[in-house]
């Protein structure tokens, strides 16, 4: 368990780990239901990045204003697992600085205790989202 996990992500991790496996799935479903809608026009045409690691059409976009970063994601309702992963990252990374996002351990998805609940194969999608978010943050810094 990484001691350096920022507060938002650490509390999500702790919430998952406090539950039995079937309840972890229910919590993932709650996240899925609560993926914030992205109002039309928030993200410019062509600025959505498709997460190829996911089995469903999920797109992420990172908006930067100075040191503040907002992570946005969309995924269809018929892909609730993917929506849940996206929602965890959107909520967990909220309010973080660039550097904090870049410092997020790449194995964060594996710290949620979901391997046995959703399978390793499916968790890869979340790892893919995280590194794409970090890459977008990185490239926006270098502008």
């Amino acid at each position: 368990m990484s001691p350096s996990l920022p507060e938002g992500l650490a509390s999500i991790r702790d919430d998952f780990l406090a539950l039995d496996i079937p309840e972890r799935l229910q919590l993932l479903l709650e996240y899925s239901d609560n993926l914030p809608e992205v109002p039309e026009g928030t993200v410019e045409e062509g600025h959505w990045e498709k997460v190829e690691e996911c089995q469903s059409p999920v797109f992420i976009s990172v908006l930067s204003m100075g040191d503040a970063v907002t992570v946005l994601a969309t995924a269809p309702p018929e892909a609730p697992t993917t929506r849940g992963f996206a929602s965890i990252l959107v909520h967990g990374l909220k309010g973080m600085t660039r550097q904090q996002i870049l410092d997020t351990p790449p194995d964060f998805p594996l710290q949620l205790g979901l391997q046995n609940a959703v399978s390793m194969l499916r968790l890869r999608g979340m790892s893919g989202m995280l590194w794409r978010i970090k890459r977008q943050v990185e490239s926006s810094t270098s502008l």
């Binding site: 690691e53 018929e78 046995n116």
Partner: protein, 297 residues
Amino acid sequence: MTIPPDSSPQLSGYAHPERLVTTDWLADNLGTSGLRVIESNEDILLYDTGHITGAIKIDWHTELNDPVIRDYVDGEGFSALMERKGISREDTVVIYGDKSNWWAAYALWVFTLFGHPDVRLLNGGRDAWISEGRELTREIPAEKPTDYPVIERHDGEIRAFKEDVLSHLGKPLIDVRSPEEYSGERTHMPAYPEEGALRGGHIPTARSIPWARAAKEDGTFKSAEDLAELYIAQQGFDPGAEVITYCRIGERSSHTWFVMKYLLGFESVKNYDGSWTEWGSAVRVPIHTGDQPGEVS
């Protein structure tokens, strides 16, 4: 069989219409004693967002696989799973799922490894049910544990291992993946994650017949005539021949396995579940790249 089969004329042309039910039949039979409905999806949470009333969830990844060995659960594991899910050996089981029933067909194939006597697929799967505006619920049915005997798994008839495929080369072998995976341009489905095969291509001599060619736009199966045209007339496969199907991990090829075995009535059809994730990384097995089947070396 516990519950009479669906006698819909839509199904009557198939070799084994008793293995398939229509959405109308299922809607009419919901709640019948001895009927258990199972949802099996690629997305593990989809069931929880809404499912057919009374349906229970079985997940291929986390429930039908052995957690340690790359294999399915054994007789005791299957029996325990059935008891937990409230399924008796005598029950008529109807399975449906997302993605044109890939995972539902995979689950049905695993049920067949254990010889569950009456297991059927819902034609068109979850999408057909939803597109017809039929009811879904988030209510999880109350558990009612049952007794299910410990049945030894029988891999011989419908499952092929790598060695079986090696000695089968030259006989009908069907690669149901996308053309790009078949040719070797990519090792995974378009828009799907990389799932770890070292090389791209296909098993030498395998014909490319993507799984979706057996399905209509709405996800239901094509008619018996159209299927016979595709697999028998165009490919020249003899229904008496031994056939092996494969894909990436065996889920899409379960769909084609179902088509060949139950809809066309081929006598011997096996699914190679190791599929490309095994073959594409295995030591000392031949592969072929490009859009031609290639020859046995």
